[in-house]
Subunit: 366 residues, 2 copies
Amino acid sequence: MSDARLWFTLSSPFAMKRGGVLTGARLAYETWGTLGAHRDNAILILTGLSPSAHAASNAADPSPGWWEDMIGPGRYIDTDRWFVICVNTLGSCKGSTGPADIDPSTGDAYRLDFPELTLEDAANASHELVRSLGIESLACLIGNSMGGMTALAYLVLHPGSARTHISISTAPQAQPFAIAIRSLQREAIRLDPNWNNGSYDDERYPEAGMSIARKLGVITYRSAMEWVGRFARIRLDSEQREEEPFAVEFQVESYLAAHARRFVRSFDPNSYLYLSRASDWFDISEHGSGSVAKALARIVVERALVIGVETDILFPLPQQEQIAQGLEAAGAEVEFVALDSPQGHDAFLVDIPRFGAAIARFLGKR
Amino acid sequence: MSDARLWFTLSSPFAMKRGGVLTGARLAYETWGTLGAHRDNAILILTGLSPSAHAASNAADPSPGWWEDMIGPGRYIDTDRWFVICVNTLGSCKGSTGPADIDPSTGDAYRLDFPELTLEDAANASHELVRSLGIESLACLIGNSMGGMTALAYLVLHPGSARTHISISTAPQAQPFAIAIRSLQREAIRLDPNWNNGSYDDERYPEAGMSIARKLGVITYRSAMEWVGRFARIRLDSEQREEEPFAVEFQVESYLAAHARRFVRSFDPNSYLYLSRASDWFDISEHGSGSVAKALARIVVERALVIGVETDILFPLPQQEQIAQGLEAAGAEVEFVALDSPQGHDAFLVDIPRFGAAIARFLGKR
């Protein structure tokens, strides 16, 4: 399998916000386009909880990325103009150091000995990577979902590190509905006897817990409205049904099952727990004496584009409005876009024409 | 413990919609007020998935019921005027025959040998009860949530059985978002090794699965908006926290845990599975050649009150609008009330002043 990942070793020891350090930790990242002589055309993309750094195909890895139609020559994020970096978040299992990696102090996998992870740690790690590429100031910092929260931390902790910002379907702090959902996802994993306090292997793997967690994720990433049109009450053919009691019967159920099957073995359960908890912990107001507005007021960017989706139940629109107002009060020229895409929180991955148009227009302004 | 339940034995054998019969099955119900000499002042209440027939306190059982502030002398549903009946749904575990009861043909509990249950069966059973009380026509049939779907089945299957109808936070058919949620709740129970294909006991009981199912229920019964105001990001005191990894930390998490604790041992898991699946199966259009409108057009009531809540994500407002339009097209005088209660689907249990005012006004018209 081709691999376009590049590697960056963090400063060592790398101190974590809540205590503890990482030794010899690294980040996986990918790039597209060419960094200009003045190093002023760089865009950094911070991802949601589960995506890898492979946002789009490139020469070293022609497989489609998770934002394939967004990034490339002539595309909405035009790599003929921009040097695009996408980083796999610290704590993930897609190359960057996380709980599944070897703890050099013991020679065994970290598992639950991985230090408590926050999105501030993820932000600091990505900032080190950007600085290592000789980039003083990003042309634009883009963050989606969890990556949008990480991006806010990045901008607060490193003033002047980006000239513009695109904030997509994210939040200035985790709210109780999202906390409840994520807490229940973590509980499903923790209750699976195979999780075994983080000490599972391929033979004894918390498949059931991961499956429930992923299905609950997919339910909250989309919208009821989309599914009425897409699945209605269509049933599976009888040959697609299993014999067991209370087996799935509707197409929407097999859609969830297919999502879960693709996910459960491709994402490390401990990594999921760490990143999920980091999302619950995130609260930009910690950087503003308990006030979201005061924290956002510390962010120095020239311009910002804030996009939210009306059907998003996990990161509801008022949270993006709050970000837009905060950045505007901080002195940025802010464009706030509320999209009526039916795909809910996942719309930025699916409704590329609408998101792409807004992003391209914003990036097109000089 | 005092017990106000009355018992009605169904016709035997009682034939089920999808095949199979029940022998010697019975319903538990409670009543308030006095049936008039003309037997024309009866109101029947059909409940959501989990409530018992104890909707309000009465002489035989002074403990508060699940709709305590709604029903009683001088209350919104005034028992000085109305004879109110609340029935525990067929298939439940609160007195009416369900999977936890003894199958007379074997002498053992039915468990998964209970015949496939539909809301039409629950409707037919309740209709038999009403007829047994000598009531030809209900003054009003009230249905909440799952009970609202059962009520629509009741009215379609038994034309002329009610003069008026109050439909609360329900749907003419299960839509994919609600199906997905309920399917995941059932999966959590089924994946619990202690469920053991329905053969659990008090020692080996699917506590973890029931806990996840209930928490997911509570999340979807309320609303994100309510929780922002109620829980925000308030954390538990350190002495309230457990030591285990990824233990709960926020108040919203312990609120869910408290709900789950109260529920898991008080509701039979197999009964939960049967009623949950019956809700997914419900589709009034089966009684209208595949058309919701045609099915609703078969309902003959003089007047109807249809209430929905804007923050309800499980039974969204457009579904109540669909019911209101269908009943109006059928010739009923329809009042449609969209409430902005913040409590989501559960609002009818909590926001008694708003629901009560609409219900009392409707019942007050002669």
